[in-house]
């Protein structure tokens, strides 16, 4: 029953390239939780999330999304999930509205619902003056916002974001964070990787630290501090200490 109560339950997830990228990973994320997945470069964060999103086939293990076996029934799992990568992948020759119409169509959303939702999302992300401009002239930040709007337009119950704040200015980053927190308040689950530890510290309900494909620490900020034995330390200090310890052990 545990998997039905979890937004995401990963068991023994394994992926090897020339070396193990993800090594028998177990991870459970609760419904309505904002979860930050941290780790140094090459730790296996993106590989893990790509396997969860159905972009990469694991070598072993299971992935359950709100009780749906994502490997056995990927279409059903994808219906309730959204993926945003660090490199915004949008179509240069489409306008933001056309892009969102396409995404809503792919997810089979009623156009009467999705049109208003698309406009509201783009306006809330500050893209109102550019609704009918082709994306080819957009900056990276604007493209990232369009991609994020695309992820939210079909009202997913699980949102997976890989470095979503890369390339965003301070105001845009605040817009995005606001949108994500609003989604979490309505019961949506958000999993995000980030290298900006202040964001994880401020926004995440729980934080997972991954290194060499394995989860080396997990908990709320207070729990992580407790594990670390110091109550006044910052997340950055804890992160560096954890990663250094892991590297020394390896």
């Amino acid at each position: 029953m545990t998997s039905q109560l979890s937004a995401l339950a990963v068991r023994g997830l394994t992926k090897r390239f020339d070396r193990p990228a993800v090594d028998a990973l177990d991870l459970t994320i609760r419904v309505g939780e904002f979860y930050a997945l941290l780790g140094p470069n090459g730790a296996g964060k993106t590989t893990t999330l790509r396997m969860v999103a159905g972009l990469l086939r694991p070598d072993a293990g299971s992935v359950s999304i709100l009780g749906i076996d994502a490997l056995a029934d990927p279409v059903a799992a994808k219906q309730i999930m959204a993926w945003v990568s660090d490199e915004p992948m949008i179509y240069d020759k489409l306008t933001p509205l056309e892009y969102l119409e396409f995404v809503a169509g792919l997810w089979g959303i009623d156009p009467r619902t999705s049109e208003q939702s698309a406009r509201d999302l783009l306006v809330s992300l500050g893209l109102e003056p550019h609704l009918n401009e082709r994306c080819e002239g957009f900056s990276k930040g604007m493209r990232q916002k369009v991609a994020l709007a695309g992820a939210l337009v079909h009202d997913p119950r699980l949102i997976i974001l890989d470095e979503p704040l890369t390339g965003l200015d301070a105001l845009s980053a605040r817009h995005v964070k606001g949108l994500l927190q609003e989604r979490v308040r309505t019961g949506c689950t958000v999993i995000m990787t980030t290298h900006i530890l202040e964001v994880a510290e401020r926004m995440a309900d729980r934080i997972g630290v991954i290194a060499a494909g394995r989860l080396i620490a997990e908990g709320t900020l207070a729990e992580l501090r407790e594990q670390n034995g110091r109550n006044d330390t910052t997340l950055e200090d804890m992160f560096i200490a954890l990663v250094d310890t892991e590297a020394a052990a390896a």
Binding site: A53, G54, L55, V75, A76, K78, Q79, M81, A82, W83, S85, M89, I90, Y91, D92, K93, L94, T95, L97, E98, E101, F102, V103, A104, G105, L106, W107, G108, D110, P111, R112, S114, E115, A118, L131, N132, E133, R134, E136, G137, G150
Partner: protein, 506 residues
Amino acid sequence: MNSVAHLSWFARHEFRLAWREWLAMMTGGRRRRNRAVIGLLIFAAILHLPAYAVVSRYADLRFPLDPSSLIVLTATIFLAWALMLSQAIESVTRVFYARADLDLIMSSPAKLTNIFSIRIAAIALTVSSMALLLSTPFIDVLVYLGGPRWLAGFGVVLAIGLSAAATAIAVTAFLFRRIGPSRTRLVAQIVSAVIGAGFVIALQIVAVLSYGTLSRFAFLTSDTAARIAPALDSLLWWPARASLGDLEIMMLLLAASLVLLGVVMAVFAPRFADTVASVAANPAAVTQGRARAFRPGSRQQALRRKEILLLRRDPWLLSQSLMQMLYLLPPALMLWRSFSGTSTAIVLITPVIVMAAGQLAGGLAWLTISGEDAPDLVATAPLPPSRVTRAKIEVVLIAIAVAFAPLVAALIFASPQQAAVTAIAIVIATASAAAVQLWFRAQAKRSQFRRRQTSSRIATFAEAFSSIGWAATAALALTIPGAALVSGILTLVTLAIAWKISPRQA
């Protein structure tokens, strides 16, 4: 570093970039330099055989020639010049829009006029080198059979390469000033696509209208052409005379081309910086007018709508479609003429149409199947990959149907049987091209279209042989049905071999 040393250093840098870009084109981005060079040498050696077949009979030609031969030779040289111009326009456009590199150059303390002069010279030399490479087997054969006077051919190729590059720079810079940076890219792509074909097509149109044949030589070898041709001492014949071994004229042509390039460098190099800056300052915000309401439909419909919208807005497709339409103009004219006559030459229209359909379908299939700009989005969408692929293939079939249905419909009035054969062959050629793209699928950005033919040489050849094979099969089905069976089986065998060695199969 003094200014001369600095310039030579930058020239070396330019040639290194040009060489690596060419190598990447030849190897599909994989690091196989030695194999590419060996492959090129083997290709050049093999090219001597068709070169022998084509030019060996002309080895004894000497000036003065009869008017028809002179016209054909001059027209061939002009065609080569037009093709080089087309390639040069494409190179110049690429240089203008390579912003990352240009930002670095323009932010450096180097003198921009000198830097851009070298860049212009590099374009000219790259275009000329490519032409020299391709023409070497032909000139070798002529030198071997006809004597060293044919070595003058190298000078002619260099002269037309340099002059084509100079003209391309002037044309592109002129376009920048007249229509602005955002439109220049599109117009230059269209111009470069149609410019080489335009000359041949114009000759074919004249041949169809005057002589009822698709042969481009019909007009060139006609009495009319001989009558209006200028006297033998005209400047018009200089390139032909130079290629026949007149060293003095060859040197004059080479000098004139160098002067032209020098003038272009002097005039345009100082303005290059402004032009590049205007490109950087105008990131082409294209507005689509008033947004329309979201449309209902299935997931596949959403995919098809997206693909069709992207194809409609694709500059490459626009230029290619225009070129295909230009290629189809002569057969269409012939079709129109045949309504009032009894010419059997109308059969020739079918292979032209089938070949054009196969080629266009190959490009479209790459754009829809491999050229996906948001692969993660489509892969995380809640529908099986097979339905995504099916929707994309449907788009290719729809686009081909829209482009070729009018011609097939017109054929029905001339010959219903021929129309049926043509329609079936178009469908088979399109399906074959799409199948090749599926077997050799390699995810890429649509903007990488230029490199699609180098990502897999086998796919390129399979696509070309399939188009040619189905075109020949269709033509034979109308004339020698027994031979059509053999041609069809051979084409199927080619496709089967491609499938067998494709990465999907491996």
